[in-house]
Symmetry: C2
Subunit: 177 residues, 2 copies
Amino acid sequence: MSTASNAVQAIVQRSPGADEFSRACVGFFSEAVQLFGLVPPSVGQIYGLLYASPEPLSFSDIFEQLDISKGSASQGLNLLRSVGAVYTVAPVDANGRREYFSPELSLRKLLRGVLDERVSPLAGKSAGRLAHLRELADGARGRERKFRLSRAQQLEIWRRRLKTVVPVLGTLLGSRA
Amino acid sequence: MSTASNAVQAIVQRSPGADEFSRACVGFFSEAVQLFGLVPPSVGQIYGLLYASPEPLSFSDIFEQLDISKGSASQGLNLLRSVGAVYTVAPVDANGRREYFSPELSLRKLLRGVLDERVSPLAGKSAGRLAHLRELADGARGRERKFRLSRAQQLEIWRRRLKTVVPVLGTLLGSRA
DNA sequence: TTTTATGTTCATTTGCTCTTGAACTTGTTG
DNA sequence: CAACAAGTTCAAGAGCAAATGAACATAAAA
């Protein structure tokens, strides 16, 4: 069984250094995601493995080649899918109920997914906190009140600027550059 | 002793809710830095406390009011200074060798500091890794070589775009917006 | 110089996130 | 249907970064 796995191993065998290349990609993306800290390293590894493969890979390809647990692979793939960083090909295969996975290659889509699913929710929360801060500031009197309101207002300005910039980012990184 | 501490406590006493306001700022910045994951939460707390204070605070003000260890306070302040997020006022006071700290309020400077000190170094490292990837790609032959080179090249394009965008960020978030 | 106040360093501990692995669900084959 | 294969869930453990605190520096006061 395990046709996909066999197919991949065949490729690995007929193209020398394929595993080094894969390993390099896996390491690269593993570290890359760690820098941002929004997702666990194993998620980066999975994406890296898919990125290095000319063909889509199956679930078992992934956890076998990366030597991680099925649990990690499952969770990691779900996360990647939820963010649109990975899509599935051939929903159901001839044998078993296997799906095959490919990496999203559009930087714009990758960023969009991460921003929408991970960053935006937090942005909403921060809006609430800033409102609370403003209330607290408003509770004071005199010089102190003035000072606190100015600080609270500045934070809101920062937030607005960041909010404005995020969509621009998407455009800048999109296609042309 | 501890004039600064007394001064601050006096302020706290004569302006009701000052500690709530401070706590809110401390919490806000603590979480904010956690989102990016580049610096420990205690660093955010310190910045938050300074941000909430109308007057500069001393070293002992900081670790006492935040109820963190001297070690954390020392390391956190050094980090903040190295990034330009905090500056010192009145290098040496009348009593002891106390320094007082104030927060940098310019968003542009804050971002510049973090980008220069924390992000740029990593960018250099990634350039090296991508070069290595390209070599590995070059080692293959035929279709496989072509595939790998295309992937390696795309990563370099991404990197270049990101590198281009970072300075733009500084401008967009700087003063006007 | 001795003592006291202020700040730093770093080995240890704490706390938290990621990973694991085994039990469970769901679907497939004989 | 039974037996198996594929994938998910989640409690428990491992690994790691952050915080601690005590020993160590350094400078002012006595």
